[in-house]
């Protein structure tokens, strides 16, 4: 049994789960300059939608492959339903305001969505078990691992690559880069910034919902589940640099591995590790690893 391998694998598993959500969070901030606290409740929405569709239409029993399709479908469904609505109705009014207003608005949206979830789905827990139990377990470094979390790793890699390609190899990506760099100039150059904002937020919402949908098979989908992901996601985004996908990936891996190492050697510190890391990074590099130093415009 190789403790180093175990820690690396545990770190990877945690990082995969967190990256799908953090990528969306940092992307939204990069484009819209808003810290989206509602990200946590969109994550929960994705989980609820996945569990609900799995049970409502198929009574909880379905061939294995179909269960993954259900999860994959839930995410864009939520993203498309929630993203444009939230952005157009609430967020578009606060772009020019102070960042605190953005925080407060998205926090309010978080609370509203949490209660909305309860109104629609009640307080009982939901389960979608098949995707997780179907894949069984696999021995690695002398102990048994569930195979399913590596599906999340696969998705994280696809998401990371996809976002990179989107930003660097598409026209839309070039426009997004322009908006990130300077919104006013982008408007002056004829870029439809309003549309970019809506699409960017929808992509972020889709990613949050995707994270939630694929987390659902491992847990009990219950009220209040959004909170568990939002705090580490924020920490990771701060560590990696607001707006940087690569930074989020690096942050997730660092946090995952440090957490796993703490569990194995200093369990008392496990929960502290993520915040100590964030503190250290912010003290020495306040913009995060890959964040851009922002000039204050007068």
């Amino acid at each position: 049994m190789d403790t180093a391998t175990i820690i690396a694998v545990d770190g990877l598993v945690y990082a995969s789960w967190l990256f799908i959500v953090s990528a969306g969070l940092t992307f939204i901030f990069g484009v819209l300059r808003i810290l989206n606290i509602a990200h946590g409740s969109i994550y929960a929405l994705g989980a609820y939608m996945g569990a609900y569709l799995g049970n409502a239409f198929l009574g909880g029993r379905y061939p294995g492959a179909l269960s993954y399709v259900i999860l994959l479908v839930s995410a864009p469904l939520v993203g498309v339903l929630v993203g444009p609505v939230l952005e157009r109705i609430f967020l578009r009014h606060i772009y020019d305001k102070d960042e605190v207003v953005g925080l407060l608005t998205t926090f309010a949206l978080f609370l509203i969505l949490e209660d909305g979830i309860k109104l629609v789905w009640g307080i009982d827990p939901y389960f979608i078990d098949t995707p997780f139990s179907l894949l069984g377990n696999i021995p690695i470094a002398g102990i048994s691992y569930a195979v399913y979390p590596f599906v999340q790793t696969g998705i994280a890699i696809v998401i990371g690559t996809g976002l990179w390609l989107l930003i660097n190899r598409t026209r839309f990506g070039r426009q997004v880069t322009s908006v990130i760099a300077d919104r006013e100039i982008s408007v002056a150059m004829g870029i439809n910034v309003a549309r970019i904002n809506t699409v960017a937020f929808t992509i972020g919402a889709f990613l949050a919902a995707l994270g939630g949908a694929f987390a659902a098979p491992m847990i009990s989908v219950e009220p209040g589940m959004g909170i568990e992901v939002i705090v580490p996601a924020f920490a990771v985004v701060a560590i990696g640099g607001l707006g940087s996908i690569g930074g989020a990936a690096l942050g997730c891996i660092l946090v995952g591995v440090l957490r796993a190492a703490a569990v194995h050697f200093f369990p008392e510190l496990e929960m502290l590790v993520i915040y100590v890391l964030m503190f250290v990074v912010l003290v020495f590099r306040p913009q995060g690893f890959f964040g851009a130093v922002r000039l204050r415009r007068i």
Partner: protein, 431 residues
Amino acid sequence: MKTEMRWHRFYGALALLTLVVFAVVLSVPRDAAMAAAKPERLKIAIVQFLSGAGAPHDASAVNTAKLLAEKINADGGIDGVKLKLLIVDEAGSTADKVTEFRRLVQDEKVDAVIGYTSSSHCLAVAPVADELKTLTISAICANYRLFEQGKYKYMFRTSAHAVSENVSAALYVLQMKPDLKTIAGLNYDYAYGRDSWEIFKRTILKLKPDVKVVGELWVKFLAGNYSAEISKLLSVKPDVIHSVNWGAGLTALIKQGKTRGLFDKSLVVFTTGLLSQAKALPKGVAFSGRGYHLQFSDPRKNPGNRAFLEAYKAKFGKMPDYTGTYMAQAILGLKAAVERAVRIKGGAWPTTEEIIAAFESSGYDTPRGPVFIRADHQAITDSMWGLTSGKIDPVFGYPVLEKMRVFPAVQVNTPLGMKTLDWIDSWPSRK
């Protein structure tokens, strides 16, 4: 100038007069919450989680409150006085709950308050209950410090708490695995988790000093991601794993642990859990569910338990979780105390203080069995443990436990007036 000064003096006098009036009004002692004249209705606030993570957990408690109130009213009420329930959501910050408690007493004029699952809430509300002289019964709160750290006149707890649960857990484990060598803990990092592990660990180490603690893992309250923790436990392979995790976190732990074989390698001990979670467990897991009331006391032999389970199933379509039984202990305790106080008073309606006096050092019957309320207002009951069997009861449909052991109350409860950790430390060490 002179006119202005006259106006100043006038307003000053008016302010002073107002202050004096307020002082007089406020200094008049308020009546105890329950008047000595027979009330039309007994208004009881039920404060449990209706939203958030605690909602599925407390649902049985809320249901039981409604069921029992209906039944008591159908039978004519308590000494002819019918119950009126006011169901309130426990979700919210501790400060909010204290404010809400005041509102329930002063604005809604409730006669008693039953509830508070969260330890921080029941601890915060206890002194306020004394201040507002309102009978308050904690039905589910498990923090053992409630009556160890403070003496409260108006606060009662009608159910067991972390001490008896974890002492009996240790005793059960030693019976099931007498050659036990290593133990580990995986618990939520909050008072209940920390206290429970401490009590369990101390009991084991006192009774079998050669046992080694090979892991003390702490996770965030209600955490759902156990990958690293399960890896650690699979690496060290402890004989026994102790956990008081509940709610969504427990469900996640069961799911993830089952797939990875955590329950095959170690005897896992869960002090609490809902029926749905007991059903999800594989065979051979030590389970108490805070005193598995569906088998203890046996509904086939205890007509009171049978009647309760059947009535609950008829009304709600399923078996109650332990929180339902705990709420029954609270409501039936209140009923017994009021009836006893009425008898003592020769038929007249008692004051709150008289009800409290009747409640202290009294016993009453509940679906689960007898409950005794000690002089310090803490309930004393037996504790039970069993192993999951994978079987379902053919009559009632609940998951069946086997190798059940019942631990008498005197063996697992801190004696009156002692501190728990001192009590455990005072036991003679076994070699």
